[in-house]
Amino acid sequence: MSFDGAAVRGQFPILAEMIDGKPVHYLDNGASAQTPDAVLDAVRTYETTGRANVLRGVHRLAERATDAYENARVDVAAFLGVPPLEVVFTGGCTAAINLVAYSYGSLLKPGDRILLSELEHHSNIVPWQMLRSRAGIELDMIPVTLDGRIDLDKLPGLLSPRTKLISLAHVSNVTGAMVDVGAVVAAARTVGARVMLDGAQRAPHGPIDLAALGVDFYVFAGHKSYGPNGIGVLWAKAELLEAMPPFMGGGSMIGRVTLAETTWAPPPRRFEAGTPPIGPAIGLGAACKWMMALDWTGAHAHEMTMVQQLMDGLQKIDGTRIFGPAGLQNRYPVVSFMLDGVHPHDVAQTLDSFGVAVRAGHHCAQPLMDRFDLDGTTRVSMAPYNDRTDIDALLTGVRHAARTLR
């Protein structure tokens, strides 16, 4: 395996499309990544040669569908380095976090504490606030350093014997910073807290060895990892899943239903009420396989070269500031910046007119924006299929905005 950017790019049909007569420089991967032929084909094969409901049918299409669905679980599990039966398919990353907040959350007692950070995505804040209202648990927040990292120096002082769970972004969707998982797990052990990682921004950058990380829960989103929409993953240790009550009720998650009472199926089925997102899960399985076939040493180096090119280019434009780590260590290719005197939305809109797609605004991280008194940032998020021409187009657009809008 060696990394061939052009070959990778060629597998993504949308990147060959003309959007209003121009090719697209897609640098909004942190919001949603694009999807390769391998994924489109896997879903189409299911839809046109094996579509049926899973688990309950004895006919051939149902057998095909069930096999494809369970094989997708195996592929996702291989991507995470965990046993397949610990992989729960959900409707998305947000749904996976809500599952934990409702189910694991129902095992917590008033006064128990959950520790988050100030840079979390709303999806890793609001479910816990809702749990706080329901169940009287307390939330603590690890501050963020000036360069956009979770400030782990502050972690020990925020831990208490009542801390039951620490839930953090593996990689920040605003600054690209990766948290030091080893330090978090070690600190958590001192008080017996569980650790959950929100892997939404980490999963799109290659296989993860969860066994080595030593965390308890992991979640990520299909659509940000080159898979379809409508699918996400919750991984948790078997003993945890075993102890957790169901979140949603319905078909397939039951043992026996009587009018008086109902017993639950074992995990992962217990957490997959109703017909699961079969096609999307099959697509995500294909995406995980696709990612596992990539040379990530090469891909990551390529991504970091683009980050460097971007940071160098921005520094040459008067009045730009990067919000996030200045170096390339322990970070992923998500870069936020501000252009003094120009609102991020106007930067992004100008970039659009240059055919460059980025995101601008609060990135669903309002508490972080409030903390640093920012109106938002312009965020450039890269994938292995991006290349230097994308960064060049972006820099041209930023220069234009700097010249015309202030």
Binding site: H345, Q349, T350, S353, G361, H362
Partner: protein
């Protein structure tokens, strides 16, 4: 490059910052946020005895479109009551294609926003705040 949106008139309106600031003793001050994009507008108004705007000021933490809209609003608002402002809003809506008809000055400047649905709210946010201030 097809830089249709940021035409000179919009940029000029925004840079003019007509009415930017605060009033010393407003009759009413209303803040409105757009949660999706994070834009925030505060509008101060001083009303006369007939509910007409005597003075107006705005603080905008938002994009150029929102600033341009607040400027345009401030430039044309004095002397108008709630009904008059509703008419102006109608002009803004005409400009961005949310209502039928031709937009009057200065709101015709916003015609380039028509094609960008995601930005319509940026133009309308100052109107939302002013409407609250007049009610």
């Amino acid at each position: 490059m097809s830089d249709q949106l940021y035409q000179d008139r919009i940029v000029a309106l925004a840079k003019a910052r007509t009415g930017a600031g605060k009033l010393a003793a407003p009759t009413k001050s209303v803040r409105r946020d757009n949660p999706l994009c994070g834009d925030r507008v505060t509008i101060d108004v001083l009303l006369d005895g007939q509910g007409r705007i005597a003075e107006i000021a705005h603080q905008v933490r938002g994009c150029l479109l929102c600033q341009a809209s607040a400027s345009a609003l401030a430039a044309a608002a004095v002397g108008r009551d709630a009904a008059g402002i509703a008419e102006m809003r109608h002009d803004a809506e005409r400009a961005i294609g949310r209502a039928e008809g031709n937009a009057a000055e200065p709101f015709s400047a916003f015609i380039p926003v028509k094609a960008h649905k995601a930005r319509h709210e940026c133009v309308l946010l100052p109107f939302e705040a002013l409407k609250d201030a007049l009610s």
